[in-house]
């Protein structure tokens, strides 16, 4: 894979949590600017896949391969994966009391090797992103996720993505808990990111966000496997028919 610039790809990923296999061989390739969505019912393993790829210590990848921009992700810890350009928007972002949003972002940019120039323009850039995501300026001085509503947290996750400029972003149920206005704003943020050649892997179990973020590919995950992949029309089919009709399909179609 090392010859393919900025591609995010993983092959036959198996994930175990507390000794139980929850992801049973998943393969995907996401090119710069591409938006993919993984859909599936609760417990299908999609969040486990997201966490494992980002390097959560409790999710063990037992076999498979994963590359980002030619780097072997499985040799890297969570910090190094982030520095390599991988971003995970959390389903339940954590509060860091006493650390302001601005201070946190500055620290994170610095940690990822942000140069002087970026730090010098930090304030300006932050205000631009606030505007893009319709976030009130007062959030810069608020403690990260401390007392934020569910929707505010999700918006701040997208803000982080926009500021950190990863190569690829995995968005774990970023749409859940958002009202329609917030959903539109968050979608706008995601589209803007993809438009600038960011790769997106959207993990969701609702079709709703796909009205605003038009994915290039949709993958349906059930019981730890991708059981079907297709274009945007697949989302509509799921919306109308639910997941049940897929249960009789043979597993292991995988990939694209």
């Amino acid at each position: 894979m090392s010859d393919r610039k900025n591609v995010f790809a993983f092959y036959d990923i198996h994930v175990e949590i507390e000794g139980k296999e929850v992801v049973k061989g998943v393969t995907l390739e996401i090119k710069p600017g591409e938006k993919h969505a993984i859909m599936g019912p609760n417990g299908s393993g999609k969040s486990s896949l997201a966490n494992a790829l980002a390097g959560h210590p409790n999710y063990r990848i037992t076999s498979g391969q994963a590359y980002l921009a030619g780097k072997n992700l499985l040799e890297l810890d969570a910090t190094e994966r982030a520095r390599a350009g991988l971003f995970l928007a959390f389903q339940y972002p954590l509060a860091i009391p006493g650390v302001t949003v601005a201070n946190f972002l500055r620290t994170a940019i610095k940690a990822s090797g942000g140069d002087e120039e970026r730090l010098k323009n930090f304030r300006k850039e932050l205000l631009e992103k606030f505007k893009l995501l319709d976030i009130d300026h007062s959030f810069a001085a608020r403690y990260l996720n401390d007392g934020f509503s569910g929707g505010e947290k999700k918006r701040i996750e997208i803000l982080q993505m926009a500021m950190l400029k990863p190569l690829v972003a995995i968005l774990d149920e970023t749409d859940s808990g958002l009202d329609i206005d917030a959903l539109k704003i968050v979608s706008h943020g995601i589209n803007t990111f993809a438009h600038k050649d960011g790769g997106v892997l959207l993990v969701t179990h609702y079709q709703r966000i796909l009205n605003y973020v038009k994915p290039d590919r949709i993958h349906v995950m059930m019981d730890g496997r991708i059981v079907r992949s297709g274009g945007p029309e697949l989302a509509l089919q799921l919306e109308e028919q639910g997941y049940d009709w897929l249960k009789i399909e043979p597993a292991g179609v995988g990939g694209r």
Partner: protein, 478 residues
Amino acid sequence: MVVGELQNKNLGIASIGDDYAAQYGFHDAEDYFHKSPKGLSHEVVEMISRLKNEPEWMTKFRHEALDIFLAKPMPQWGNTELLNSIDFSDIHYYVRPTEKQGRSWDEVPENIKKTFDRLGIPEAERKFLAGVSAQYESEVVYHSLKEDLRKQGIIFLDMDGGLREHPEIVRKYFSTVIPPSDNKFAALNSAVWSGGSFIYVPPGVDVKIPLQAYFRINAENMGQFERTLIIADKGSRVHYIEGCTAPVYSTNSLHSAVVELIALEGAYIRYTTIQNWSHNIFNLVTKRAMAHAGATVEWVDGNLGSRLTMKYPCVYLVGEGARGEILSIALAGDGQHQDAGAKVIHAAPRTSSRITSKSISKAGGRASYRGLVKIYPHAHDCRVSVECDALLIDGASRSDTYPTMEIDAERVRVEHEARVSKIAEEQLFYLTSRGLTEDEARLLIINGFIEPFTKELPMEYAVELNRLIELEMEGSVG
């Protein structure tokens, strides 16, 4: 000889003994002791007082205090094991300033120098902090500041100078907040005190810039037995800053200061301390304030380093509507015990207090919160808020709280919250997924934890404190 002349000649109080010798027939100052012999006796107390040429009442005060010290048993609470290990006969109770200033930079331990380097403290300040002779005297900043204060009638001297130049004010207030009988270490300090600050702010005067101990140089700043007295007269305001974040290096193992604050009607005093003692020090300090009607006293108290610290800044709310606030942090590392807390006595109606205590224990360190809130029967309509937050960095570390509330009045609102937390694995993962290393993530969480404290500090202190904690955390985690 007038003291002002002495200072003009750049002799300062270091020469007081010389003057004494000349006046009383000691021909060679070198014959006089630079250091008192080890151990404590009425002879030593007498020598200290005579050397400083003190008035009779102070000499008598010292002797009486010594008797109290000798009669009082060691406290039966706190870390009694460590307390009982103190050998009072193995201590020099007085070291002449000239002697201290004679210490050379080469003698300062390498690790202390390195910390100075990494904190980016200027050369002159480093030497001062390390107990090497001070060089501030010629600094323009210092002189113009002094002139400003003088014009407003503010007195800012070392305690010995205060006693010489303003004996009437000192005699009126000295030891009125903390009598020698208060506790064994207050008695010890009363017998052998030396150095510390003396501040008097006249009625209605607002001291615009924080007064800092290192502004007054030609004095014993880092005495073992400092004695500080601050009087804010009616309606005045003052912020005093003691110490700094750099490690205070000392060859003396026992430090026992007494700090008395008096805020008269409607006055405001904030007293900020950040101390980072070297790890051999026993730091046993008595700090207490008297807040009269409508007055406010705030203690902002940061404790790092030392072997054992026992310190409970206290406010007596003696006038209606007085307010007291105590905000403290303690960081206990390997082999350290920070026994810190707060005390508020509500002795008047409609008084209010707030205690916020934050502690961090790491690498087997122990942090204890010990607090007392007392409300007397006639002190109705009071408000009290106590918040204790402990953060444990690892499983080997320890935190305890010993809160006491004695509430005997009616219509009192009391809020009390205590929390012990650990850094959650999910929090670490969240931050590492943003490119921080685990150590960076922990540090960010810790800095956030103490943010309510650091935001009360002047900027340069806040920055230094964060860097210092970064140094302290290095290698101890992950």
